[in-house]
Symmetry: C2
Subunit: 198 residues, 2 copies
Amino acid sequence: MTTKAALTSQHIIEISAPIFNKNGYAATSISDITKATGLTKGAIYGNFKNKEELAYAAFKYMVKSLISPLSNHLRESSSPIKKLYLITDFYRNYYPFSKQLGGCPILNIGVDANHSNSELLQRVREVIQRIQDQLCSIIENGIDAGEISTNINAMQYAKRIDTMIQGAIFMTHTLNDNYYMEDTMNLIDELIDLKLKI
Amino acid sequence: MTTKAALTSQHIIEISAPIFNKNGYAATSISDITKATGLTKGAIYGNFKNKEELAYAAFKYMVKSLISPLSNHLRESSSPIKKLYLITDFYRNYYPFSKQLGGCPILNIGVDANHSNSELLQRVREVIQRIQDQLCSIIENGIDAGEISTNINAMQYAKRIDTMIQGAIFMTHTLNDNYYMEDTMNLIDELIDLKLKI
DNA sequence: TTTTTAATATACCGATTGGTATATTTTAAT
DNA sequence: ATTAAAATATACCAATCGGTATATTAAAAA
């Protein structure tokens, strides 16, 4: 059990993740990471094959840091329709939370990697897909449970909600104004009430 | 009339704008621009004070390239409510159009500049503000003209529509799937029908 | 305690970075 | 055609880039 290196790896990931998230892949240098961690290149390259592998690990960690609190939050109710409200509830507090981690990794890395790092872009796409699949499942469960109207397209509304959330994240972060997040969550709640809820 | 340098400046701007738009500020090098333009550093620095000034000019040009077609499109009707439909109509064709220019500059530069170039970020914010103000004016004109319900908050809906559009732009570009753009425009049309239209 | 191995630090590599000073060329004025 | 001025090309700068080879230190095994 190589405990020392594993701890160092984790430390490097945790420190570098917000840096990659803020600056993007190309604009983050190894020296940014050595400065922030207090370690040297030897420690970095002893634990990661190259900058790219570190960026993948950092992105994975950052997504986990932001998604697992959401998953936990959704456990507060087993009712699908209430889970939907728990989602908007979660995102009402998302701004200060994500800001502290350097922003939303899906937005930041999605934009950053789009014309440069196709491997990283692919990972962003997979995360978005997973989120939408999970959202779709909640809606489908709501239909099965008789909480949500049968004549709606679950995946369509999963994508609509996800798209609105991402728009709000962009606006709130870019304009440094939480209004967009709050009002968009109100709008999504209205959408749930009006179109989904029976 | 220094015609020669003005033409060269314009040429540099037009060529470098999509590069900055795709790569972001820090990840775009002067050599990227000399390669693309076929010019040398002497021509670049003879016409622009530094990389930053060129990036500003490139952003300004890119915004103009994407916004003025929208302005022109809106001239097709003088009715405020029809202008709203013309907006969703415009964005239904936005993906191939913006893709050819390296993406949406508001989204790309907004994310890119957020934690690095505060001057550039400020310019993105001003563009967003201008768009929302104009959208708000259209809604207000609609209220005055009796086309739009009097008991709605014009700026609130301007921001809601803008937020949804930006979310759709992000999703469509990141997932390379125009569905998000199309469906979001349908959703906005529904919103106009249901909440705004009298 | 000694030896072996794992982990980190240091020194260096060629390539590239933004930017500048100067040389050269192109354009315009005389 | 000659001269003056504007515009562009070239050569160079220190600093930094990602990455590697090796030296040193820290941990584990003997």
